[in-house]
């Protein structure tokens, strides 16, 4: 079990629910990054069968120590509980594009996609992307689109969306970890550097109901209290500091109408994580659920 101080805060959890990711720069110490890179030079990390408890997957490997780092363990536990199951790993080696171009191949970035397949669950899996070395702009790591994680699509079917306003590309120091909701749209960029790019992706599944697994010490009643809505001081705050405003902050690619559906779906997920079906943010659910006595729902 992670120490409480290493768990996510309520605001961090709300940001994960709203945007589908959290980023932790240089969270893995340099010595461990170097050890991981030395290990992958001589062979891939061990492949455990799907469904194996994470704690039994990487004995003796640098990866075992990485997932036991106190803050990493706290992030994992906050999102998928204390004993997650290992689903699979992806060890991404991306040699320089020039290697393939010299062989006459056309090099294209990986299409934007959602992993696995159509997945309409409320429960979610966690994907950790670990970048063991610095990723420079020329190396161009993973591209992802914040806020796409609650869209129910069929894997590569969204490949046509070459570029989306607000997309991010991972340029980061060594030892950075991205914690992603399984549904986030992403793809690998073309490596224009002269060095092979490495990234380890781990997919982890919860074994407990994902309810208040984070550090809820900062969870006060004011987070659920009704607020003024369409308040410009909250609507246009680029970094809101309360749960409701975080859940109702649009991404730049949001369509005007479905952006509101995104708010509703975020609120539904937050209700699930909070274990409170009365929670609302900026009145979106309360308005829809208001059926006065004697009135039949259409």
């Amino acid at each position: 079990m992670a120490d409480r101080e290493h768990l996510l805060t309520t605001l961090e959890m709300a940001r994960f629910v709203a945007r589908g990711f959290l980023r932790f720069d240089a969270i893995v110490p340099a010595a461990l990054n170097e050890r991981f890179l030395e290990e992958v030079e001589s062979g891939l990390p061990p492949f455990a069968p799907a469904g194996t408890p994470l704690a039994r997957c990487y004995e003796g490997s640098a990866v075992a120590e990485i997932v036991r780092l106190p803050r990493v363990e706290g992030v994992i536990e906050s999102l998928v509980g204390p004993n997650p199951r290992f689903d699979h790993q992806g060890v991404h080696f991306n040699p320089p594009a020039s290697v393939f171009e010299a062989q006459g191949h056309r090099v294209l970035a990986q299409h934007t996609h959602q992993d696995s397949t159509i997945d309409p669950r409320t429960a979610f899996d966690l994907q950790l992307m670990y970048f063991p070395h610095e990723v420079t702009p020329e190396m161009a790591g993973t591209r992802f689109i914040p806020g796409t994680h609650l869209r129910v699509v069929s894997e590569m079917a969204c490949a046509r969306y070459q570029n989306v306003v607000g997309q991010q590309k991972v340029v980061c120091p060594a030892g950075t970890i991205l914690a992603l909701h399984h549904g986030i749209w992403h793809g690998g960029e073309v490596n224009r550097s002269d060095r092979t790019r490495f990234m380890l992706k781990l997919r982890l599944a919860p074994t407990v109901r994902q309810c208040r697994l984070w550090n809820t010490d900062d969870l006060g009643p004011e987070m659920s209290a009704p607020q003024p809505i369409f308040d410009p001081t909250r609507m246009f705050d680029p970094d809101p500091k309360d749960v409701q405003s975080i859940l109702c902050r649009p991404e730049p690619w949001f369509e005007l109408d479905t952006g509101r559906l995104e708010f509703i779906n975020r609120i539904r997920l937050w209700r699930h994580l909070l274990g409170d079906e009365d929670f609302d943010a900026h009145h979106w659910m309360t308005r829809l659920e208001n059926v006065p006595p004697g009135v039949e729902r259409i």
Binding site: R106, L108, A109, Q110, H111, T112, P120, A140, R143, L150, R151, V152, V153, A157, C158, A159, R160, Y161, Q162, N163, V164, V165, Q167, K169, G187, E189, V190, P252, W253, F254, E255, L256, D257, T258, L261, E262, I264, N265, R268
Partner: protein, 92 residues
Amino acid sequence: MTGRQRVLILYLADSSLESGVVAWAQYDGTGERTHMSGDADQPPYPTGLDALLDGWRLFQFAPLRPEPPGHEFRTSYLKYEFAFEKWIEADG
């Protein structure tokens, strides 16, 4: 001389061509340019109308459909897809 097609697909913020571009894709049948995922962070035009004004011909747009009962709140693919083309004269 024969024609080669350039295709521009814009995803807009609502069903009006005057609304802002939120996503896009480009394919160049002339072979002069290679477009790919992640190759630009700024859209080629601020709105769909701006593409028309620059000479792109609209050949398809997404119909408006009511959400199926029971799935009113499900979000999925981008809704407001507008496909444009330009024909470029080329040899061969």
